[in-house]
Symmetry: D4
Subunit: 248 residues, 8 copies
């Protein structure tokens, strides 16, 4: 109910076409949702053309298959993260155009092309073992309609390799930096660029890494400005946020 509706209702009351009791009932039953806050729906339904997203971890193969079966009846792209190869095979039966991204542990189904901005997102990963998280970010950013530049294996202990790619880095509109262990890479990148850096700590490592805690704390206390952090191993979150920024 917008202002016009409200005015109309009051006019009805004024002219005796609506009983005050009834009017009161209508007004009283307003839920927040009824107030026309379309934005409330933003997160889930989104605008047409946006992918539907499934978080596969903790779901059975059967559940993932059924959700995708339903989704694929609609004309949206689909992204399923944290899935197994077994889940993919089950999905393939009902949705042959599904594609499996092994490293990213993701399934995508492209139903229609997304319009991409000219600018791109770069995804910088410290070590080869950070690749699954980096790829999850990349696949996410791509299916949400972004160009992605992968810059791999440029850990701080061999920092010159980062400089070899400096042009690709400084030209990106948003930077996703994925790193485990000491999580120092976002600080370095943050010192090189004047664009936002989304830092993704990974649980890669052992010992005092404490399941990603060392990288997480390192990134949060980064000396470089322009750096913010998402949850440990949350490649999807980084890709989603980077897409949001890239499309501003």
């Amino acid at each position: 109910m917008n202002q016009d509706d409200l005015l109309k209702l009051l006019e009805e009351v004024k002219h005796g076409r609506l009983e005050t009791g009834e009017a009161m009932q209508i007004l009283k039953n307003f839920t927040v949702k009824d107030l026309g806050f379309a934005k409330l729906d933003t997160h889930r339904e989104l605008r047409t053309g946006y992918p539907e997203v499934i978080f596969g971890q903790g779901k059975t193969t059967e559940e993932v298959k059924e959700i995708i079966r339903f989704m694929s009846t609609q004309n949206n792209n689909i992204l399923a993260t944290r899935v197994t190869e077994e889940m993919f095979r089950a999905v393939q039966d009902i949705c042959p155009e599904a594609k499996f991204h092994q490293r990213a542990r993701a399934i995508t189904v492209m139903k229609k092309e997304m319009k991409c901005p000219d600018t791109y997102i770069d995804i910088i990963a410290a070590g080869t073992s950070d690749l699954p998280v980096a790829e999850e970010a990349a696949v996410t950013a791509e299916i949400f309609g972004n160009k992605v530049e992968r810059i791999i294996d440029v850990g701080v202990a061999g920092i010159h390799r980062l400089y070899d790619r400096i042009e690709d880095i400084t030209k990106a509109r948003v930077n996703i930096v994925v790193a485990g262990m000491e999580g120092a890479l976002p600080s370095i990148v943050g010192g090189l660029v004047d664009k936002p850096v989304i830092a993704v700590p990974t649980s890669v490592g052992y010992g005092a890494n404490f399941s990603g805690l060392s990288a997480l704390l390192g990134m949060l206390t980064s000396c470089a400005s322009g750096v913010s952090v998402v949850n440990i191993d949350n490649g999807f979150g980084a890709g989603f946020l980077a897409s949001m920024i890239n499309k501003l």
Copy 2:
């Protein structure tokens, strides 16, 4: 030395106005910075017109005063964060146009107007005790040349007050959300908007808050997409990053 300088130098060499030996000396003394990687300078010197920033905590009043005395000889705006009122009074002696932002615990000196984008940053704070951090973010965003909309005291326990400001929230280009205790507000805001949310945990609280840990973990594990997190109490970092995104 920018590209023009470099070209000019080479022209000097070409026309014999500069000895190759001298030219080599100049080029050899280039530091990495000198090689035209303007981005390398981003963090500290930045582009002309960008504020110079001082982190006051852990510095003496005398030190802060001397740094600002030097900076104010140059034509840049100045921002000093985590300063005391005593520091401000010392600064005022040498720089009468300095302004003190009490809640934000910040000093600003405006030397010239910054060009502002039309879009604005909103800064949402859960409780009145989160205000110092929220104000630090606001003052930072403003001196970096952004319009800021403050949305105060809209904690999750009285969520309807958030809805009263929903239009201001959904129209912002970037959202900074500041909260202590359970740190739930960024999740709520992230579910209402389709723009980036920068979450700032504060150390406000007691008991199981553990100096901001509860808010920090809550924000990192937020169920809403589009949320990223900066260090506990890091209002400056949030303001800086928001400015970066707002100017993309």
Copy 3:
């Protein structure tokens, strides 16, 4: 031995029908329990009609089966939590009326009807992966003789769905709110109702969730009044306490 029994015993002594030596022996063997502190028995034996409860985790299938075999000789309802499907099948052999609650990972055996209060308990769960804990709470509350209203998948990132159920929520006598990750839901619910909120953090999540720590700290530092917290994943504890309050 209640007061009547004690009086009777003393009468026996008085009238010489019981030797003082024998009486002393009886009295001396009184355990604290025997002294009429009926409440001492509350937790384990409870009042007639109350279910017997088994915590299945860490027990073998054989052990669970044997305990239920013994219990089912008595006329009480039975609740076994944290059991496997294999345990259920073993129990079924000896107790065909046993029922398995798959999601709740619980077995119930109804021997007689419990009297239910008119008021009900609502159980609000943030995400589908919180359902096992929510269902454990629901099954517990039901077998202890309560009506339960399930309100599912109303996480804070899509808060409007919570408002769609606001009437069911505000009419409940006690609210159980189950959430993982940032654990923000109890704060929201606590701000909407004027009835007790029992918050149950779950270990659902990854990364900075740290096995439920993020949700636990978030709930403990909730800004809303009227919220208290039970152990991570402790659906049974929440259901038991809610039943206790609902029957006050």
Copy 4:
């Protein structure tokens, strides 16, 4: 604006005594709160007669004084927690009927009598150093209109003293149990009663107490059913929740 007010407004419109434009303005300016969702108001304004609450910690003496000055113009009781004696003296100047509860570090102003249920809340404290938190709970419960029974210095290391008060304990409708160090008391009490136990860990102690962590974890993992936990040192929260349950 309650339902009567709304009806009256609509009647005014109906009878032409209020323009629809004006009526719309009034309705539009309603916040969500105004729309008759009385529950939305629970936490802050509450029902008439309920105390207004101020959290003094982190506020200046001047701020506390000003808030109470404003509040005392209204006809509600007032409770200020975590205040200093200095704050009290400042408040006394403007509000002579204000009362200081030294141990509880609280100020109360009684404007009118609250109706008390016949049942009472007991507040059990392990050691003398837990008294400030216990008293904060007691003062809160009392000003919210409850009878309170204090049971003091009954720590688990001298458990027989608890038994001396067992009748008072088992007759209470709700139990608040306050303890620091190992936080074992709620487990004991939970095993003795069949009423809800609200456990309050305190930061009292040293060493491996880690600012209340030992008591907090101990209470969360309590073996007794019917126990739930509030934040460390949160006497107010326990008193508020106990009042809520006592008035069900």
Copy 5:
């Protein structure tokens, strides 16, 4: 009431000298304590001649003074731990025989001689900064009636000094070992003796000591058998337990 009392009471009933109603009242009013469990009193009242103990931390000078004033009217020795010099001067006014143990931060009042066993307790301290805790243990053990041998400054980094005292160490009946930082000393001592080792971690240190956590964990995971641990800085607890064992 012991068995004899109980028999007598029953005889009274038998012979009609006591009404059954009255007898029931007496029996019913038994508290647990009344049942002859003298041990229930162990902790607080103890046997005659045992010191009364006050924990001074968190108490005001006035409170400590008043408690000691009352205690000194009885014929028991007195021990007050965690007291300040100011407290001592206040106590001296009313109790001139009070003695201050500066390093141990303790006050003792000797009213009568305790009988000492022939065996002794040794107290081994790693560094000079562990002395306050070591002395608290020593003063405690002494006033509880034990001979104490102090073995100071024998940290693991200069292990030969420990060997110089090896005879004193191996002849002790109980060993208290006080250490901060890495807390390794109890492991060494535990490998040298065949008597119980009570390990006391101290909060002495900085950095990764984390307020005694490093020493605490080190002692708990000691490879030597016969080692048990008390709370960080708990010299009193160690002295008390050592006395208990020495007097077995």
Copy 6:
């Protein structure tokens, strides 16, 4: 080599029955251990008649078997802790008198009777799931030559059952108290007895138990005096220390 042996050797030299070169070789090959520091041997070889101890965890079945094969050639009792049933079966082949303690996960081989003191150790366990640790303590204490009284399933939530066994508890010379979750039981027992209490936290539980941390912190901060703590799940350590104290 004891003093007698040393004297004998010197006599041999004196009487020319042993060459000085040979004597030097014997003396030189003395390790520190040989120099008469009998205590140095305590931990491993101990005095004749003491059991040899093997920690099975992390060893292969083959390794455990080989160690026991060697040990059983000597005339000592043998204790192996943290072993599997498979290990036991392998051991049985070579050592038929070996006995398996299933709950304690221990193997014992009795080669000769130990002399037991008249006093006994009681072992109190909170819940049935604490039994493996309690039994490890019991089996350890028994093979080291002590009488043991088991007091099982007397958790704090049903404290009256503890009182049923109060005589057995107060008569013990040393008390081992095993508990998981909130770890409150040692505080209760410590308040009832005037003998040492060795507290063993167990990792039994879930959620905020954090692998035994809740019980560990609870026991370390126990309000009762006379309580000390060993490592989480360290039944052997508790049994060993209790034996040491029982034989003083």
Copy 7:
């Protein structure tokens, strides 16, 4: 491009053989690496003769095999750590001279002899269960061309065995000390030698060991000077650093 190249380039410009535009392009494209910082390559490519290193954990058997297949075409020694026996068998097929170090979980391939310094590294391990980490350090140090002295099973609880090897310890040029549980051994060794001690905490243990945290904190807070610490279980890191120091 070294100084000669730069001079040559400028000469070309001077003599008109190179256009200033082209020269500028060459200069501008310099990456940091091009500036002749050979040291930038230190970590990965190293000097000829140094082993190539593979971290096997998290890699598949196939991946390890392929990396070694490639590496073995070059004339360098190879070290693969954290590998399984299965990986070794796969490697053996393509590289028969590969050697498996079972305890160290390492594969080495010797292509040519390394020159060893005369001095040696000793590797001291507290318990048999620390051997895998100690062996990883030993194998690493050896393939990097160092003599290694193993000193095994000399834990602090039987400290005399350490003294038996004191000559070997004090003559080493660098000491690696590997220990789990309380991690006290580096402190002891640090007190005996005047050479660097590299401490390696291991995750060996249970309970309050918390996956190596107890040993880690113990070593970091070591009272002995000359001790530094590497990551938990990081035998490779210790061996590499020790080699670096041994060859200074």
Copy 8:
């Protein structure tokens, strides 16, 4: 007593010049120290010419003064760390040649020149607030007789400044790297040099720095080889170890 002494003693016995009883007494009284292990003294007394070291923290001004008064009677250099300016003034009275190092919070007294190796130690500090720790390391290394090169304010967020000093860095024999916050600098330096890197985490920072924990974990999990870590803020330890390595 070395082998010759032992042989001589046995000869004495053989030839009847020494009674077996006396010989036994001599042999029996050997302490470990007596066995000629001069290295046992290494840590404390050291070789002549080495500085005496005092840790001032936790000591009174008077104590520091007295220790230095005594030390200065001997012909050794003196180093006192963690001292205040007040302590220095007190020391100056009795030891006019004492020198105060304000930033390092250290006092040194040079009694005689130390011989310096030609190689030097570099000390790299990330930020100005890390200077106190860096200076403590520098002053320590210098008084122990080493040349030191300070490389200041080269944090990872402005990494090009590090490259400006690359020659100084790669020529050092040992590198001390001091950093707070994310602690990334040692990883960068470790990737640039082939010499040992001693990493010193500092407690500089706020929020998720958690008193140095973020830097500590970051350094421990460093991806660069050749890096080891000392305690948080332990500048002395780093300087001491660097000196040890520099003099190998």
